[in-house]
């Protein structure tokens, strides 16, 4: 058994959690999200590493990441940069290549996902031995901050259509705050071909196809970006196209 050191106890139970952070122009947010991750992982005692996958951000995100590496250590902050902005799926593949964890967290680096839920994800996963645990904004006390009525209507409407057509067995399909067993993430990413929102949906749909078990944790999503980028007609159209493709091919 590991010894207690104040609030920082190491559980030493053999599980390690790799956190994948794909970043693009997150110079301001990256230090904050890393600080929060270090705080909550430290308090809970789980072993972890943070993998920053920067797609050649012009604002100097990688430079900030290097500073963070000096502060927190190269065993805790790993850098896996890429030359330019490529897809999310390939970012995951690139990130887990040298990941030492047997579990992988995926989340957004813009502070819309809060690391305080990480112990809840881990608890849920252990409770049911789930292959993947999905953060949901639509169940329990999950929710959103910063959305007006229009945005909520689009979100709930789109989710309803998805539920009717795909019957996926998970309440929040476009969410991207999730915990995967490493081998599950690997096997799913190589099968998924969609982009953007639909990529996250496809991951869950394929997981169901392969009979992986899915658990859920209510999360709060603090949207600080919505004000600047309204959800326009283009995104809705591409979402519907992606949804119909999944409907017809899975």
């Amino acid at each position: 058994m590991a010894s207690r050191k104040g609030s920082q106890q190491s559980r030493g139970d053999g599980d390690k959690y790799s956190v994948l952070l794909p970043t693009y122009n997150e110079r301001d947010n990256l230090p904050l999200i890393v600080w929060l991750l270090v705080k909550y992982f430290g308090e809970s005692g789980y072993d972890y590493e943070i993998i920053v996958i920067d797609d050649g951000s012009p604002d100097g995100t990688l430079e900030v990441a290097e500073q963070l590496q000096k502060i927190y250590g190269e065993d805790k902050i790993l850098l896996r940069p890429r030359a330019k902005k490529l897809g999310l799926g390939t970012a995951y593949i690139h990130g887990i290549k040298h990941a030492k964890g047997n579990y992988v967290f995926i989340m957004d680096a813009d502070l819309s996902h809060h690391p305080k839920f990480i112990p809840e994800f881990i608890g849920k996963q252990r409770e049911g031995g789930y292959d993947l645990v999905s953060g949901t904004r639509y169940r329990g006390d999950g929710g959103v901050y910063g959305w007006d009525l229009r945005r909520k209507l689009i979100s709930r409407g789109a989710n309803y259509v998805t539920q009717v057509l795909l019957r996926p067995g998970a309440s929040d399909l476009t969410g991207s705050f999730r915990l995967y067993k490493k081998e599950v993430l690997e096997s799913l990413v190589e099968r998924c071909v969609s982009k953007g929102y639909v990529f996250q949906m496809e991951m869950i749909v394929r997981a169901r196809q392969l009979n992986y078990t899915i658990g859920e944790v209510p999360i709060s999503f603090v949207d600080r970006v919505y004000g600047e980028s309204k959800l326009g007609g283009n995104e809705i159209v591409s979402f519907l196209k992606g949804l119909l493709t999944l409907f017809a091919t899975t």
Binding site: L36, Q67, I71, H114, G143, R156, L165, V222
Partner: protein, 143 residues
């Protein structure tokens, strides 16, 4: 099936016992081939069922329900069902669509109305951002 053959079904295997006269095996061979083909067809059908896409599930389901509806409404099998059955069946598709439409509107409306607004989460985040910036500055981060 040829009269000269007997089919014996075991649990894990089907055996064809055939009469071969004058070195003529044709009856026996034809029987074996027939069994093999129908076995493969059955297997293929099962595979298609298990890997049906959602689209195909819907097409299949709607076809089955549509066939049942047409059967009752237009009396396709000449069953001469009581008039009441036909009167109820005839408007069913439209009725079900309307019910589904109303249910959908009500469900989405309810979900939008009860969508949690995470005020607390936002405030907490703001406070933590301040704390984080202070701490990082102390640790030597140049922001």
């Amino acid at each position: 099936m040829h009269d000269s053959n007997t089919i014996i079904k075991f649990a894990d295997d089907t055996m064809v016992v055939g009469l071969i006269t004058d070195d003529d095996e044709t009856a026996y061979m034809e029987e074996e081939e027939g069994l093999l083909t129908s076995g493969l067809l059955a297997l293929k059908f099962h595979i298609i069922l298990f890997t049906m896409t959602k689209l195909l599930e819907w097409v299949f389901g709607i076809s089955v329900i549509g066939a049942a509806w047409a059967l009752v409404t237009f009396d396709l099998l000449g069953l001469r069902l009581p008039e009441a059955y036909r009167e109820v069946a005839w408007p069913m598709p439209v009725y079900l669509l309307v019910v589904f439409g109303c249910y959908s509107l009500a469900t989405v409306g309810y979900r939008v109305a009860t969508f949690n607004d995470c005020e607390e989460a936002s405030k907490e985040l703001q406070a933590q951002i301040k704390e984080a910036k202070e701490d990082l500055r102390k640790k030597g981060l140049k922001m």
